[in-house]
Amino acid sequence: MFNDQCSMIKRKLPIPLIFFILTWVWASWWMGDVGRIARERSFFATDSTLMQFLWQQEFGSLWILGRALLTLFRWPLLGGGVVAAMLAFGSWMLGYCLRLRPRWRWIQYLPAAAWMTWVAWSGFELYYQHESGRPLGTLLLGFVVVAIDGFIISTFSRKPLPEIVRPPKDETQRQNLAQLVLVIVLTAVPVATTSLRHPYLRPVTRMEVQMLSQDWQAMAETARSNATLSYRPIAAYYAIALARTGRLTDDLFQIRLDYDSLYLRGRSNTPDNGTNYYLADCNYHSGLLRAAEHNTMEMLTMDGPSLYTLKHLTRLAILHSDFNLARKYLDIISHMPFESAFVEKYEPMTAQTAAAAQLRESDPEFASIKMCEPVADCFESQFQEPTFLGYFAVLTAGRSLQALYQSLMANLYSKRMNDFLMRCQPLVGQVLPQSIGEGLITQSQKNPQILQAFPSLQMDAQRYRLFLQTVSPYIKDRAGNAQKLFQDYRGYYPYYYFFGNLKATRKSTAKDSPSKAGVN
């Protein structure tokens, strides 16, 4: 037994093959959801008219190839496999082209590791407001250059190709082991980069993938399992998941809402807070469909079409009964690889028949969103901040209880307590959802009539008094103590009221300008 183990240790390992496996795991599992969402937020179609906007740009053809490769991330295992193959085969070929001696062979992995680290460092910038074909386009270019170089060398020289899947013959045991360690370290660098610089990247993209399959429960669970991470996109997608599952009034404050920097640069390479990443989704799921269309069209204008924007616009067109428009978008989507399921689902809804109407009405997502649409027309500028939750804070007439709850939660979130109290009146005499009851409790000392109107809150009032006693030593330094108290009071609105969202909470004001300049 002992001899067997010794022989395993002494056996030389095929490092290129191990590097391939490691990069495959990295690309398909660690970055798999990122690749899948990068594909959603990218655009590649098999029609030259549709790609014209990109073709005309510098390096446009390279970016188109990069985008074509990205489409393989429809199945991250496949996309990741192709990326890993290019990285591993390219590294192996690079070593051959550079005629590296065994002791320096680890150098061949440096360009691949550098590319992986750059990808990890980029985070959302892989596709958000930046060219989505660039990451795989540059990889493809490097790979092709090295492959051609290797092909020429192997054709005109007698130098044999090194082993790729079998243990190398020309390496010593020590050299082989050193290579193995370095390859593992090099692969760990991009993993660490993602974890340290963009810890939100994987949870957010995971939630987006879950949203694609309308798995709202899983979305909420993903956010809760990353509850101590405090980033706006996580909060936004968490709120959407809760809105879809009817848990907004119970679970919104289960995650930290303090918002660290995303370390993002926009298309002008200036700092960007990432609001436009999720704003269209928030407005759509809040029933503010025209605002969602506005957000999505601006994205389409500035960054060109993407599968994400086209899908959004299709659904919005169907919800607005603009069926010719929906068919236009579906025609474009049908020219994108691997999107037949989406077209098959929504195309039948664009007919003007009773069967199509039935399909539209029976779609649970559409039905739920329709329940939250504004009752009467007004203008975007008459709504108020915050943008979170579709800036639904000043709802004056709702189509449903769900719409009222969304408005109340927007007020609780933005700590607009007067607006909150005014909108609680229809709930007198009813069983209150958890956060709304807790929100009322925070105002009960200033306004004792609240407890008369909602006598069921007496028990909660006791808990609130106890909370105030317990946290009183921490009140002087709320920002410093917020994280310390989070686990004890997770999900409890008074905690959020006093300790949560301190950086972002400002007294919101109505937008002064009723109209926006810059008519095109």
């Binding site: 025209r290 069209m297 601006e298 204008t301 500035m302 203008f379 975007e380 300008s513």
Partner: protein, 538 residues
Amino acid sequence: MKTHSIHILLLLALLLTACGPATERPATFTDTDETADISPDYGGVTVPPNIAPLTFIVRDSLADAFVVEFTAEGNSENCESDGNFIVAAKSGGLVQPDTAAWRALLQANTGKTAKITVYARSDGQWKRHRPISFRISEEPIDAYLSYRLIEPSYELYRQLGIYQRNLTTYEETPIYENNRTFDDDENHCVNCHNYQANDTRRMLFHVRSNHGGTIIIDNGEINKIGIKHDSILSAGVYPSWHPTLPLVAFSTNLTGQIFHMQHSERIEVLDEASDLLLYDAKENTVSKIFSTNKQFETFPCWAPSGDRLYYVSADVPNLPDTLAPKDRGSWMMEHYSELHYNIWSMPFDTLTRTFGEPQLEVDCAAEGKSASVPRISPDGRFLLYTVADYGQFHIWHKSADLCIRPTNQSAPHTAPEGASIALPTDSIVPPSGGERGANLNSPEAESFHSWSSNSRWIAFASRRDDGNFTRIYISYIDSSGNARKPFLLPQLDPRQNIRLLKSYNVPELTRNPIQVSTAKIRKAVLEQEQKVSKFIEK
């Protein structure tokens, strides 16, 4: 010797290609009463004799092949000398007539009706559809059409440009593009291109934001000018070149846009104030034509004779006098649907360069409607404009329809600011335009429009295809001012109409192509300093 051999081989190859089997009409077929479903729809349209081939898609999911026959009325079906020809559809039912054959058909049959007969094959059997007829006019259209391509966007812009299309071919060339690869510095808006009397020798367009100014091109000379003065509302906005003089009438507007939350329309573009200016391109001077508080004048348009200026104006008598400028926008937002614009005109003395008394041309407000973008036919006989339920930026109004009526300069109807005005008793047609423009309109918005220099054609923007992306339609206007059914601007690949995610904006017909190169214009935009025009108090 070797060269000779290559030439002979090439010649042989060419001959072999030329002798290849020509597309033929199916030998056997059955007739059907159904008309083929083609897109775009060309049934019943009138086309100019110089238009590029009408391409289309035949939509029949059951058929696997199509042959399309183009014949002219009265011609023998087999007589190719009369211009008849046959074309086989490509994959997906794409029909692209050969340009030479198309031209021969049109030139041999002006003033006649032509037919498109579609043969479709399914299960190995051919069927012949009922022919689709279209008329070939004797009058050509101006050969060039310029437009802006822009997403039907809201506030932002990118990869935006003004282009010129040769209508006799499919050639599209940029006049000016901002940036293809994103560059903050070059990411400006360009708009409001305008020409003097369908002639590109004098033209202009605006550049907004970075490198801003108005680009004036006068017989090859390019200048970037800035219209600025404390007493005017903004730089020049909607322009109209005087037909002969180096003068431009501009509106000056405080414009904003607001975004509906729950409405079939998406955006309302509204003015908080607007006046008219007169700009002298030779002297680089500007003066006010109108400066009023409770009347909003905009969209100026010279009569082809140059002795009259048309424009639209809305009375806003309820606008509170005490309203602070910053609150004006809020007030307008509350009253946007009450804004009704009428069409006015006033005489212009070309010698003294002074304007006479305004005269009401079309009283839309009396009908609860609102007019915009008046355009006089170059022969001076017809007024073409858009009418909608309210406002003046009608491309965002589903109710917007085109109207044509004879110009009417008799019986002036003048009134002081704010006074109400009765409908002109000598109005030949209702203010909403009567039946003349009926063929032009759809349930979606029809808005910006331009006359061909022979007054027989108009090109206009319409959202009829999908309610959002504007496309250009061309319509024949007969000598009585009646519009024929319009047709969609032909494209080499008709699917481009569906797949292009941009709108066609501000179509302007011209007789000649742009006289200066794109590079020269680009250099002027990016490198020239703005020459601020001198303001002249009148």
